[in-house]
Assembly symmetry: C2
Homo-oligomer: 295 residues x 2
């Protein structure tokens, strides 16, 4: 795992530098929304989605600097979703990665605008000629991110998560919720790496099968951490889903059943990478990391 | 003006049909966010930005059906900005176009998500192959909309509008605020029509000069309506800027000074259209309409 952790740390630093460059501070009264966008994105995090972009792009011999712009765009979308999900009208969270959430650090209006600004900027980055010389690649990156992040993807998942029906979801319902809320963007990370590498359809399908399992395993691990992890390690409150009476993989399957399912999903995920041979070792290790992490 | 009003009404209907087709209802618990997105976009409005897209596209012989997808995408962005601006943490408005605002009709969380969903979907529509066969056109449409709508455009303008410095802005400050908050998207409407028509640089520059004047004239007319118009005609509360002690073109120039400035701006705007000859008559009439409208 040491190699993986080194690679993840190195990509995380590079993505932070890329975000810093893509979000320069602005003067005058509009400066506050840019400050909030920077606060929301530069404060750390695992940078799992950016790492999946970079690791997948390497499968197709795309060099890291090119993948990092796309990785940063995806991280902007991930961070915007956290900023809006943390708002009082949604999860009402005060803490994120051990720091005050954006609406606590600034105010609610600034948090709403910062999220809007990050979502918008992500599409600006993907469509910019610096991202890829072929405009067909840029347009496809935009199209697939919009599909993954919109009402039929991440936004739809968040809607289910706050719906009155949320408490009573069965296993299929929770699976569908998480497929949209977290799975769609995780899948998009790998697909974006593949699009950058102008990968063929069988490769993209293999990666879609990989991320379908990986995304679910990631969420089960998240549910386990929410039940068993410590708030100090996670940098955010724990036990919130249980307190809210929300059905989760852990409440539906029990801790052991959930852990077993996550392990099976990771085994299945890595099998979908067979056609890539040794080149996919980093993605294989990432899949194992996803269910072994402590935060 | 009869021709113009007929053309505007006809485009408004066509855009509403296009939005209806682009935002199909969804089943299950995520259906609510789609309902809210439809509520936010299908309830009418002048559809000024869509009309500018269509009228500009016609200058370059782009047929209406092609321009309508782009027009609908821009209207999604305009409507998302209204939904978020109306939120309690921002303008806290209960009424929009004579109907309850989205967070009043549904709830705050749904309104935040509906705005997010509309912004995301707009980029999905622009990047989709149905919008234009040339991916360079699609990528450029995305890039320019992101620039117009983001922190250096509309979102930045809204940030200024709710900033502590807002009350004390001078004429330059109010001009800059409105250039970002409303001007950027009005400019983008004409630029998008030109991009669709693969217009040359001089044409795009002439249109940029046209919209710089038009956007400002539009805002001055808005300020005048906020001071002098009736809430019933506008379908939203009036006098709010005055009540909030916000500097506006009317408070800084007086009603007569503001009206004179708007007339001068429209005269200047239409001069920038000279190179287009008779073909630009619809845009010329639109500029006059913008300061003569009653809502």
């Amino acid at each position: 795992m040491t190699d993986l952790l080194d690679a993840m740390r190195s990509t995380a630093s590079a993505v932070t530098r890329q975000l810093d460059a893509l979000l320069p501070e602005a003067a005058g009264p509009r400066g506050q929304v840019v400050q909030a966008m920077r606060y929301a994105t530069l404060g750390g995090g695992k940078r799992l989605r950016p790492f999946l972009v970079v690791a997948t792009a390497r499968l197709f011999d795309v060099r890291d600097p090119r993948a990092l712009r796309v990785a940063a765009a995806l991280e902007m979308v991930h961070c915007y979703s956290l900023v809006h999900d943390d708002l009082p009208a949604m999860d009402n969270s005060d803490l994120r990665r051990g720091n005050p959430t954006v609406h606590r650090k600034f105010d609610e209006a600034t948090a709403i605008l910062a999220g809007d600004g990050l979502l918008t900027e992500a599409f600006g980055v993907l469509s910019h000629p610096d991202t890829h010389k072929d405009p067909a690649v840029r347009a496809l990156l935009v199209q697939e991110l919009a599909a993954a992040a919109g009402a039929a993807g991440m936004v739809g998942g968040q809607m289910i998560d706050i719906s009155p029906e949320r408490e009573d979801l069965d296993l299929d319902g929770v699976t569908e919720l998480q497929r949209l809320k977290t799975g769609a963007l995780i899948d998009n990370a790998c697909q974006s790496g593949a699009i950058l590498g102008q990968a063929d359809d069988p490769s993209r399908q293999a990666l879609a099968a990989f991320t379908a399992d990986l995304g679910l395993a990631f969420q089960i691990a998240d549910d386990l951490l929410d039940t068993e992890g410590s708030s100090a390690e996670l940098g955010k409150p724990t036990g919130q889903d249980v307190a809210a009476g929300k059905a989760t993989f852990v409440s539906l399957l029990g801790p052991k059943g959930a852990r077993d399912k996550a392990v099976r999903l990771v085994d299945s995920a890595v099998e979908h990478l067979n056609s890539f041979g040794e080149k996919a070792d980093l993605l294989r290790q990432t899949a194992h990391f996803v269910i072994e992490r402590k935060s």
